[in-house]
């Protein structure tokens, strides 16, 4: 996982530089961009392993940039958000970001988030034993990590695939948000459960709303 390339898009030069130094100290190769336009150019040119985007960016903001990247690829996207700007976080996740890290951040925390999202993206090898998981009208090819809903292929990000696998493996059983956060995002206890909520929304939009039930005060389950 070290040696993975990170596209870092951040307009504040001091944050950009220190974050690059930090990521390099954790073994990442860092490509920097100072605004959204430079970010999308660098993404198209260099095809990094993961994108780390500030939300507030000149020219193209981080949320629009996420949407542009998502339109072209399933590249893992992690947002650097100003903590407390809630609409930013939720709209960033809705735009397709896989995770977010609030500023200011600790080096190990940022590295852990990037590693987790990279693990999800590369899990194709880990899950290569293959097989097909079928539940609730979903058919998940664990080898190729492709998903069909009622026989129709749907395009999911790796985070969404992982979420679908967790739900399908426990079809008919309620999984609470903390459990999903731990199993899909590798969060220790106490992460932001909106990650789960927004990803469930996105998954529902892609595979059809009726399949995943919300159990109030408890969590989510895939209908058998």
């Amino acid at each position: 996982m070290s040696g993975s390339s990170v596209l870092l898009v951040e307009d504040d030069p001091a944050i950009r530089e220190t974050t690059r130094l930090l990521l390099e100290s954790f073994g990442f190769a860092v490509r920097e961009a100072a605004d959204g336009q430079a970010g999308i150019d660098a993404f198209r040119l260099e095809r990094p392993d993961v994108a780390l985007l500030d939300v507030m960016l000149p020219r193209i903001d981080g949320i629009s940039l996420t949407r542009l990247i998502r339109a072209e690829s399933d590249l893992p996207v992690v947002l650097l958000s100003a903590r407390g700007e809630n609409t930013d976080i939720v709209s960033g996740l809705e735009a397709g970001a896989d995770d977010y890290v609030p500023k200011p951040f600790d080096g190990p925390v940022l590295a852990a988030r990037l590693h987790a999202v990279l693990r999800r993206a590369r899990r194709s090898t880990a899950e290569a034993r293959g097989g097909v998981l079928e539940a609730g009208g979903l058919s998940i090819d664990l080898g190729g990590l492709t998903v069909q809903a009622d026989g129709v292929p749907v395009r999911l990000t790796m985070t969404e695939v992982k979420l679908a696998i967790e739900l399908a493996r426990h079809a008919g059983i309620v999984l609470d948000r903390d459990t999903l956060l731990q199993r899909v995002w590798d969060y220790p206890a106490g992460g932001d459960t909106r990650l789960v909520d927004v990803h469930i929304q996105r998954l529902r939009a892609k595979i059809g709303g009726g399949r995943i039930a919300t159990v109030r005060g408890a969590g989510y389950k895939l209908e058998r």
Partner: protein
Amino acid sequence: MLRSLRGRMAVAIALVGALVSLAIGVTVYQLTASSTIARARSALATQVTLAAAISARSPAPVPGATVGDPLAPADLRDAVQRGLLGTDRIGSVLWAGTPARGHRGIYVRTSLAPELGSLATLRSDLLLAGALATLASALLGILLAARLSRRLGHAAAIADRVAGGELEARVDAGGDDEITRLGDAIDGMAAALSERLAHERRFSADVAHELRTPLTALVTASSLLRDDRPAQIVRERVGALRELVEDLLEIARLDAGAEAVQATRADLGELADQAVTAAGGEGTVTVHGAASVVTDPRRVQRILVNLLVNAERHGAPPIEVLVEGRQVTVRDHGGGYREQILREGPRPFAGGAVADVAAGSRAGSGLGLVIAHAQAAAVGARLTLVNAPDGGAQATLTFGGSE
């Protein structure tokens, strides 16, 4: 009764009513009495003139009239002897006399009893009317004053609520009088107060937001420093600055009500255990029948961790956490909360929440308790701060409801 505006106004209006009825009554009575007596005098004078005319033509006695009546009042007889026609009244008897038959004169008299009787009736009618008018004006005064005092009382209650922190309370006085103006003035004051408060909150939120960008670079850069003493100091101070900025941002979020409460069922005993672990492990948890409550576990965690950190930094061990039903109590054995906190509740930068015992320990910002308080309000729980009778700060978080 006289201390209240209502009482004083009622009494004043009743007094005015009484005075007015008295003045009108006296005037009416005087006028009526004098015109009644004057009519009787004039009728009697006509009668005596007639009697004198009859007696001039015939020597026979005139019925109803007497000649030279010794019972007539002395003043009247003097006047008659001087050749004048006169009337005089003794008690309820009215006399009239006129010169006739030489110097003896002729006199008639009549009883004024019917006139005096009707005047007496008039007097008691007037008294009754006056009493009724006084009573009516007193009632009117009470009603009027009650309305005034109700409106004033409402304005005072609103002012109290605004003072108690309910900044959106308004008098909304209708009408167009002085009380309306008072109500409008109170509303204006409340609006100005809430505007200023919002401005201050925006300001501190903006400051915290602005500090975050340079702080982010600082936190990252300081984590990359070589591990020597100066680097340790920088890291430690940057950490303190970060905590301060994050606390301010959290308060700004709480003030704005920006985050939805994520309620789920949680066991208070487990939450207490997790909080002690998260706060660094200091503190022993005792559980007596912990309830499970529907709440936002992360916010509860935040409250308990803040209380524990506060106890650790500003209090003294042992730190005890007691979970009893729907209540969690965090208690230390230090110097207890400062008097001002107990009196006014936690406030930012009020100079440290706890009377510091350990020499050289810094007073905290007090933000931790402010956050704990606001988070408790956000999840519908109550946080009460007291000093234990045998010393030490004691914070109790009580969850409402009975699920």
